[in-house]
């Protein structure tokens, strides 16, 4: 089997501007939704209490709300979680409530209404911890960005590292934009997925850049857009296959992983789709516009892979 029978290099760079305009529009939309709607942060970040309750039959949400109201709770949210029998109750932080007993008092209220209610899990996060988690998340993002920029600058050239990071940050913003638009819950595991996507789609740029470097070294007389076109075309089949394979795994998580892994897999799916697009069609034109040229690779022997000796042997 061979999916990709491409005779000539596809002139991606001719349409570079179009791709970038599309990207920019998506990016701005994402920023717009982030700014106007904001992320629906999970209890882990905001602090509060989360209680998952399972019923033997389909749960009556109205009745549950009524029971909670009667017991003196306020500002709670009750929704189904995964199936009609499972219910997720969120309670905001309240200073006057005894948080330690919250889980029990909610369960007492619910059991009084329906004896089949059984507690599946309770999560309580204090305000300080939530703030720290958010700060640490932001810090992790920053460190990933700096680390990748430094590594790519060292292995390739600063132009590559800058383009790669711009392209992939734009992925991150777009994922966040999706979460803001649909008001999906942004939890710690989604954050993990976002950061994993960042590392993963930089991968993609690296594969293309590797080819660009190689082509620059090998082929004389090709213009920069031609070199980029060639690099993208010759890696396109691996790009699609790799991402397809990863997506199969993610899809499997989306289908079998249940509610807990749902948004994690969702973030990965968006990240993978936009990762292909951005690292191929955004990063490469950026490199071009930043003025990459053949000389930068011929002059600088440093950029060579230290693991490959001159005769091409490697260990």
């Amino acid at each position: 089997m061979e999916f990709f029978k491409i005779r000539k290099d596809i002139p991606f760079m001719r349409h570079a501007l179009v791709f970038n305009v599309i990207s920019l529009v998506t990016f701005l939309l994402a920023v717009f939704f982030l700014a106007t709607r904001g992320l629906h942060l999970s209890v882990e970040f905001t602090g509060g209490t989360l209680i998952e309750v399972s019923y033997s039959q389909a749960a009556d949400l109205e009745k549950i709300r009524g029971a909670l109201g009667k017991s003196g709770f306020s500002d709670y949210s009750v929704q189904n979680f995964g199936s009609s029998q499972d219910v997720l109750i969120r309670l905001p932080l309240k200073s006057e409530q005894n948080t330690a007993k919250l889980g029990e008092s909610v369960m007492a209220a619910l059991s009084a209404e329906d004896a089949s209610a059984s507690l599946r899990r309770v999560e309580f996060v204090g305000p300080q911890v939530g703030k720290e988690l958010a700060e640490n998340g932001a810090m992790a993002l920053l460190v990933v960005i700096i680390g990748i920029v430094i590594y790519l600058a060292f292995r390739f050239e600063w132009r590559f590292s800058v383009s790669a990071i711009i392209a992939n940050l734009h992925d991150v913003i777009i994922i966040l934009g999706f979460f803001a638009f649909f008001q999906w819950e942004f939890s710690l595991s989604v954050l993990a997925a976002v950061l994993a996507v960042l590392g993963y789609s930089v991968n993609e740029s690296v594969v293309v850049f590797d080819r660009v470097r190689e082509t620059f070294r090998k082929a004389r007389g090709m213009t920069t857009p031609q070199v980029l076109d060639h690099a993208i075309t010759s890696t396109i089949s691996r790009t699609i296959i790799t991402h397809g394979s990863t997506q199969m795994m993610v899809l499997s998580m989306l289908v079998f992983g249940g509610e807990t892994l749902h948004y994690f897999a969702m973030a990965l799916t968006i990240g993978i789709l936009f990762g292909i697009y951005s690292s191929v069609l955004v990063a490469s034109p950026l490199v071009m516009w930043l003025g990459v040229s053949r000389e930068q690779f011929i002059k600088a022997p440093k950029a060579k892979d230290p693991n490959v000796s001159d005769d091409g042997a490697c260990v």
Binding site: M1, E2, F3, K5, E44, E52, A100, G103, E104, S118, R121, V122, E123, F124, V125, G126, Q128, V129, L133, N136, G137, A140, V143, V144, G147, I148, Y151, R155, L188, S189, L191, A192, L195, A196, G199, Y200, V202, N203, E204, V206, V207, T235, R238, T242, G244, S245, T246, M248, M249, V250, S252, M253, V255, F256, G257, G258, L261, D305, G312, C314
Partner: protein, 622 residues
């Protein structure tokens, strides 16, 4: 050119065998077990304990599936949970004849049912996190300011004793914020006092000052002392938590310091979270203080004007009591507390035993205050309650004290347990809590397992259709990767959580990238007219640089997650990072070994089975 030296094959085979051995225990699953461990440090875990357990089981005619001794205690494995519960009750009765004074912790546990020779190799199943096995997770914040205040309070008592011993008259000692202020009437005494105090209290720095007509000496803690007190408070709290959790009977509790002022407590398998929280969250400390019986003082305090140096508390039963702020004794001096009954009134009581320093202080104070009342306070969550306030009739020596007051037998038991479990050096608050029911844990395991399984099968099917033999090799390499990852996780006993399982799945999905890169490169070389052998060699070599680059960038993200992540993120990051490392080995070295084994030996290799290699212009080249 496509032949590995023998040592490389041997390396691969050895790695695979080790990987297989350490993955193996995960297939045997776990069997119900009962764990018996001493609740006190003085009791030894030795072969004698093992034979006692065996004898108890034999006596009751219960057969077991294996009995093991380790540093934690004696673990006995059983066929089913019914026997497990029966044995728990049996051991509870045999080893703790007096339930009020538990010598041993009897806890339900799960034990790997892998054969003994595997366990002897140190091969254990993966350590499952709370979200997979169910249990409670608490993050407790230690109130460091509280620890310092407490220390300063006891220091001001020390200062008082010191000055009295040296016959230096002062006009009052009080704690003001984070300092202790000693007032003097004349400068001469102050100078003398300062010399004495500086000699005897190396942890304090003293500053002279003036407050109206009074001369002041302000003592504050040195920064090194502050640090030491905080470290000590944390350690003390951890020890106390250990003791309290021992009383709960949890098989494998995790109690760890996190950061400078936090403690993580994980209690796998605990279902009665209310009880656990109750025991953990209670920050009961015992304080003995003197009662201020000055006529009129109580009335003034009731009116909102407590005389200086006193506090208003209510006695059990409701009547108010004015107590001096100065603490005579704290729970730190307590070595034991047992519930019992008062010898004369037959009221429920708690019998306390003090250590030698505590006994001396208690003797002094009772001698000096015969006829006065002393209050025994139980301070829980910042709120104090006077348990009892007896009149001191005679000097009490020997360090044996009895608290009796208006309490029920149940209350006496609880109070004794709390006091015995040790007092906390500083108050703690629960800042994070996770409770996961056992059914949710089992659900999570099956969800994670199915995600990984079906994803893996889909990738395997696709790879084998698309790359034929090379696809099969890639799949085998991916399977080897999964095995290495599981083996490494089992070997390190890193905690596996649901995000960790997601990371396994994701890492596998990403790891196939290396093999796709290699296979595409080989095809490309073939397309450009290279001979099969040359194409394989060039494909692997050229792809390696790219694989390295892409894995390093992924690893950067993984390490950052590891460094800054907590909770679920950390579980994800650990597996992710390990997976990247194992994938480098399996997708490059293991798959190359397989390719070399299959194709490398053939001198004349006309074609390789890597699927259709399409060449522009030549549509049917295979």
């Amino acid at each position: 050119m496509n032949r590995y030296p023998l040592w490389k094959y041997i390396t691969v085979v050895v790695a695979l065998v080790i990987g297989f051995l350490y993955t193996l225990p995960n297939f045997f699953g776990e069997a119900p077990a009962v764990q018996l461990s001493p609740a006190r440090a003085t009791l030894k875990t030795d072969a004698q304990l093992l034979s006692r357990v065996e004898a108890a089981l034999q006596g009751a005619g219960i057969s077991h599936d294996g009995i093991f001794l380790d540093s934690n205690g004696v673990k006995t494995r059983f066929k089913d949970t019914d026997t497990q519960l029966k044995v728990k009750d049996l051991l509870e009765k045999t080893f703790n004849p007096n339930p009020q004074d538990a010598q041993y912790v009897v806890a339900l546990n799960l034990l790997s049912s892998s054969p003994k020779w595997l366990s002897n190799l140190g091969a254990l199943p993966m350590y499952l996190g709370l979200d997979l096995r169910g249990g409670v997770h608490f993050l407790l914040q230690v109130d460091m300011a509280g620890a310092l205040t407490k220390r300063l309070d006891s220091m001001s008592a020390d200062l008082r004793t010191l000055l009295r011993d040296k016959n230096l008259r002062h006009a009052g000692i009080n704690r003001e914020g984070n300092a202790v202020v000693v007032k003097f009437r004349d400068a001469d005494t102050r100078t003398k006092a300062r010399i004495v105090l500086e000699d005897n209290q190396p942890d304090l720095t003293f500053v002279d000052g003036q407050d109206g007509s009074d001369l002041k000496l302000t003592a504050s803690l040195k920064p090194t002392a502050v640090k030491r007190i905080q470290d000590f408070a944390l350690k003390q709290n951890i020890t106390t938590l250990h003791n309290r959790i021992n009383e709960l009977g949890v098989a494998e509790p995790v109690i760890q310091q996190q950061g400078a002022d936090r403690i993580v407590v994980q209690l796998p398998g605990v279902q009665d979270t209310a009880k656990a929280k109750d025991i953990l969250g209670r920050t009961a400390t015992l304080e003995i203080r003197m009662v201020d019986d000055t006529p009129g003082a109580l009335e003034a305090a009731m009116a909102g004007q407590a005389p200086f140096g006193t506090e208003l508390y209510s006695e059990r039963g409701g009547s108010p009591l004015l107590v001096k702020k100065q603490v005579v004794l704290t729970g730190d001096r307590l070595t034991d507390a047992q519930p019992g009954f008062d010898g004369q009134t037959h009221e429920p009581a708690v019998h306390l035993t003090l250590d030698s320093a505590g006994a001396r202080i208690f003797k002094d104070i009772t001698r000096e205050n015969v006829g006065k009342r002393m209050a025994i306070l139980l301070i829980e969550k910042g709120k104090g309650e006077v348990v009892t306030a007896p009149v001191i009739r005679t000097e009490i020596g020997g360090g044996r004290v009895q608290i009796s007051g208006k309490m029920s037998t149940m209350e006496a038991n609880d109070t004794a347990l709390l006091l015995r479990a040790g007092s906390l050096a500083a108050p703690m608050d629960i800042v994070e809590e996770r409770t996961i029911g056992p059914s949710l844990g089992a659900d999570n395991i099956s969800k994670g397992f199915h995600s990984t399984l079906w994803g893996f099968l889909a990738i395997a099917a696709f790879m084998m259709c698309y790359y034929l033999m090379f696809g099969l090799i890639s799949t085998l390499a991916l399977a080897a990767n999964l095995m290495f990852l599981v083996a490494l996780l089992s070997l390190m006993q890193a905690t596996l959580t649901l995000p960790g399982i997601a990371a396994i799945a994701l890492t596998l999905g990403m790891a196939i990238d290396s093999n796709v890169l290699i296979n595409e490169r080989v095809r490309e070389e073939l397309r450009n007219g290279a001979s099969p052998q040359a194409a394989i060699s060039a494909g692997y070599e050229r792809a390696f640089g790219t694989i390295l680059d892409s894995n390093v960038t992924t690893l950067i993200a993984g390490v950052a997650l590891l460094a800054f992540g907590s909770g679920p993120i950390r579980g994800f990051a650990v597996v992710h990072c390990l997976g990247i490392l194992t994938s480098m080995f399996s997708s490059v070295v293991v798959s190359r070994a397989l390719v070399n084994l299959i194709y490398g030996r053939r001198k004349k290799l006309d074609k390789v089975s890597i699927g259709q290699v399409w060449k522009p212009g030549l549509d049917s080249a295979k």
